[in-house]
Symmetry: C2
Subunit: 390 residues, 2 copies
Amino acid sequence: MVGKPLAAIVSAGCTRFGRLEGVYARELFAEAFKEALDECPNLDPRRDIEGVFVGQMAGEAYEHQGHWGPIVSDWTGLIPAPSIRMENACASSSAALRCAIFAVKSGLVDVALVGGVEKMTHRTTSEVQEFLGLASDHPFEQFNGLTFPGLYALMAVAHMHAYGTTEEQLAMVAVKNHRHGALNPKAHFQKEVTLDAALSSRVIAWPLKLYDCCPISDGAACLIVTNPEIAKRYTDTPVYIIGTGQASSEIGLYERETFTSIPAAKVAARRAYEMAGVTAKDVDVIEVHDCFTIAEIIAYEDLGLCPVGEGGRLVEEGRTTLEGDMPVNASGGLKAKGHPVGATGASQAYEVFHQLRGEAGRRQVPDAELALTHNVGGSGATAIVHIYRV
Amino acid sequence: MVGKPLAAIVSAGCTRFGRLEGVYARELFAEAFKEALDECPNLDPRRDIEGVFVGQMAGEAYEHQGHWGPIVSDWTGLIPAPSIRMENACASSSAALRCAIFAVKSGLVDVALVGGVEKMTHRTTSEVQEFLGLASDHPFEQFNGLTFPGLYALMAVAHMHAYGTTEEQLAMVAVKNHRHGALNPKAHFQKEVTLDAALSSRVIAWPLKLYDCCPISDGAACLIVTNPEIAKRYTDTPVYIIGTGQASSEIGLYERETFTSIPAAKVAARRAYEMAGVTAKDVDVIEVHDCFTIAEIIAYEDLGLCPVGEGGRLVEEGRTTLEGDMPVNASGGLKAKGHPVGATGASQAYEVFHQLRGEAGRRQVPDAELALTHNVGGSGATAIVHIYRV
């Protein structure tokens, strides 16, 4: 039985993702908010919005700026609206969405602004590697020079060793997501790549090559989230959230029993499916956290899209393309759409909001009625899964 | 009419605050959690705790470590419990408490662990000033060298100019809170200071002298928060939260119409009083955010303990001492108890939890039945007020 709505999304906004020069993160958030406002003429933001929940990973490092809650209230014109900033690494804005669900379901907040932002490209690649490393364990990982490409490379090698996953299968994830990204006018990369180009790109951390890694991007995304009972005041076609699941794994990859799955993602998915009253088979549109190609393959398995060990074959058989029976990352995913870290979770929800309303243009999944987003923080210490329906 | 309980606190833990050497922040949190567990034998943490909400301001800067949600789940033995980190500068763990209230009131979480932590004293004072500055506006404040003592000095000068508040009245806040702190075995400073010593201490940012400033401290505090209907499973004497109010002001002090009050605190207090169905007069025990002595005087006015402009007289008349008719900062406040930033909000709740249960030892306010905490982020861009009753 499909679960009762926990909350509704009535509007959404997103900047283009990419190298956006000469702006502060706060300006990007305001731009995303403007789209959400423009799409929702019945919303009187200063009257209606009772709570702001904003995800951001590391503005402290990128812009020497913390305290993002009130900055967002300020730059969206919502002062004195209360605003809380969530940081769960790359899952920060999914954490913000989860808290907004708590808030509207509690009855204490009827309408919430949820979003996320990260401004990254003005820093050097080595600075960004250092700042992303904040999401891994300092004493045992960062301190010893283990970067995120390195962490996911360890997971890739373990998966190849355990299940025979190949470098070609990894590259196929990149080829697929670039093809999808080419159909998304907000994607960082809007061009296709060939399997040969992906396989022959330079090694970043073997077996991961340049095209196995998501780019460093700037961007912001936001959602207007309401109590489901009042959603139709704002739109005739709200999207309902019917499941939320979150779980934690140990912060250090070295602490975990397995490198070939993300245990937190399995638990988060199980909780979300149970709450929503659906199974993996029921889902029409899926956005997963493909920070590296191996992460998408592991996500297939953790979400139950295929048996453990068969993620490589799933992409090889073309089943997760737009034309396949379980389209994954129609948006282009982190790989091609880009990964402005704090914005990623909200941008996944932005994508499924439009997919479920039939507004996804050339990348529309036909007749999509049920959607899932899967957002991972760090090397999997945080995982958050949300399930949506029309 | 006194409002219905939103949530209940059934146990609480707190480390000693001060210079705690040779430990990571995560270890401090685990120590605070151990006290909460020891005090709550009916709690089976791995079975019962369904959500963790942790406040931390700037572990990224102090320990080059982010992603505190799962770190706390890990070091409290709660994996795979979902865990979200909130950052609202010095109000981070009050933001965590507020999200936990949403979570338990939503019915999606029955028992939550809420807490906060900051490890600061291993860094130099100038580093700490830089890191605290993350809570102010970078482009116009930090970048130009405006520190937090500087920001609050501007507020103090404005208050002196507008209302005749004196340096002696500022120093009286320090004398009072040190006297209270001397009765608190967990306080950073457990010794009294004289008015002369406070007034003749060295100038930090005129009119603020050393004794007008809270110390740099390490510490952690946590709470076990439950749905009020199940609180008595865990304790015969729960403390109920009956009001929560939060508001935002502009991030930059320069953007605001007034320097003599914190507009966000006024709005947060009004919302909390309305929700709780009480007024300032009804409150028996009050913990306010006295990061600097002027902040306590402004808090008196913002909370409605006295008319605007009369905060200085209120402390001069002794009305906010332990023996006065409206005791403020029985714990010693940030001034004497210490201010490990992310822990402060949770430690205020820890104090009133014990005050309302009659467990506050030599600093007990007799017959306390209603309590209020007031926690400010930055120079007042965030303010969060909670109201509690037995």
